[in-house]
Subunit: 296 residues, 2 copies
């Protein structure tokens, strides 16, 4: 087992050619340097020829010098990885619900165009899978709509996600009965969102389950097409609507109190968030909401 101090002595000795000068440079005594080389030669055979003017490396000495260089390079790579000094390079792993994920998608593409060293692994999943993915260390960053109470996770307020009731442009909606006549266009988060918004707009209503389901699409970006064609209404996040609105054939119903979903950015609490993840999370928040993200 080669002691790092021995190797350091060897490298400086190879460079300066004298035990005495090596000892001076390292702040040790000549005897210590002599012992270091003795230990190395005991393990590896003759490493240098002692000459009156300067030591000369044997081929084995040259091989060891090459090894020391390999070690130095490996250590530099390690330090770079640990320091996160370069926060615009490396992999970003992110897992989000589909609604906000769609809104972030073009922003992530813009970031990648600006910083080619970044590589983004982004997955759409419901809240539960987001929690698991971050907890199991498969993704460094996650977004959820409910703040988790888990000591292993940090949760920072990322953005507010207002919900919109969208109906066909030609529809008139003033009562619960109007919605029943239209019918509901569902999506994976459809029921949850509709329940939250409609219980505020129409208190005491019969529930979203009493409205006929006129369609289901598992991609939030495609849900506005059936609405525009008059097949029914839906409830989706405003960011999703703004990102993919087809144009004039839909309308947003502004009735009753505002309903806003808070979005929480989560990551593992037991170790520091990487510098690149910090950078990207901040950029996304500020490009989405214009506000500054406050990380723990």
């Amino acid at each position: 087992m080669m002691n790092p101090q021995w190797l350091r002595s060897f490298v400086v000795l190879a460079e300066r050619g004298s035990f005495t000068r090596t000892a001076d440079q390292l702040g040790l005594t000549q005897a210590a340097v002599s012992q270091h080389i003795h230990h190395l030669e005991a393990q590896l055979g003759p490493l240098l020829i002692r000459r009156p003017r300067q030591v000369e490396l044997t081929p084995a000495g040259q091989a060891l010098l090459g090894y020391c260089d390999d070690m130095e390079q490996a250590e530099k790579r390690l330090n770079l990885r640990l320091s996160g000094a370069d926060d615009r390079q490396g992999e970003i792993s992110l897992i989000t619900p589909g609604s906000i994920g769609l809104s972030l998608y073009p922003l992530l593409l813009d970031l990648q165009a600006s910083y080619p060293g970044l590589s983004v692994r982004h997955r759409f999943a419901p809240d539960q899978d987001v929690l698991e993915g971050v907890r199991n260390n498969h993704f460094e960053l996650g977004l959820v709509t409910l703040k988790p109470d888990d000591p292993r996770l940090v949760a920072c307020h990322f953005a507010d996600e207002p919900l919109d009731l969208v109906v066909p442009a030609t529809a008139t909606v003033n009562s619960w009965e109007d919605l029943e006549s239209l019918g509901f266009i569902d999506h994976p988060d459809g029921h949850a969102m509709a329940s939250r918004l409609l219980s505020r707009v129409f208190p005491g209503n019969r529930g979203i389950r009493s409205i006929a389901c006129k369609g289901f699409v598992n991609q939030v970006g495609l849900i506005l097409e059936p609405v525009a064609r008059g097949f029914g209404f839906s409830v989706i996040p405003r960011y999703a609507r703004e990102a993919y609105a087809p144009g004039e054939a839909i309308r947003v119903v502004e009735m009753g109190p505002r309903v806003v979903d808070a979005l929480w950015l989560i990551y593992r609490a037991e170790w520091p968030l990487s510098a690149r993840a910090r950078f990207v999370a901040s950029e996304l928040a500020s490009r989405l909401t214009g506000e500054t993200l406050v990380l723990v």
Copy 2:
């Protein structure tokens, strides 16, 4: 400065997931392993999360594991280089006089064809340059015609190089005067070789300098052409002649005592000759002379 024993404990711990099992495997106590990890974390920050069933690596822990793998690979490369286990791979550096160099050239090409991992750096030079080249560690192997008396060099008898007096096929040579009538075709080692052979065949002759020089070629392989054309005679090593004899237009004069130059293989005495150099030197000797090379 990271102690190699700390890193070893870390690698085994990452693999087995438990301090106690790691200690068992390494033949240490659990307390020692705990201290090793403590030292590493003091320098690098949290490397693992202690769980009741198994430790979990942080990203920093994973980075360190990558570094340990780099170290292991570097060490393997070093050991391979030091052991010379693979003696059919790597560079062969050889410096020889032109005459024997030409004989060896096709043999070296054959070896390279058989062992593509070998790379041959071969230079032709007079004896004095051969000695310098080996002594200065620019070439690992050298061939000389005079055994050196230098404690830094090992000299092994490599081969005997008989000298041939070659004349045009139509020439009649029985006396010194016949040689004077022909004239001498010279080459870089021409005078030395001619002196040695002719002082034996014609004792008391007037010396090679009394014979008109009819030509000079600094490549031994080309010297037989002017001889074949009848321009003069020359003295060259038999191996060179055999390697490049053009055919019927020259003749070897067999007169008087045999003159044989001994060839010495030299290399540096202060460290072991590399395994590949041993292998190649043995192959060359046996392919050239049919005899087994005896290395010190």
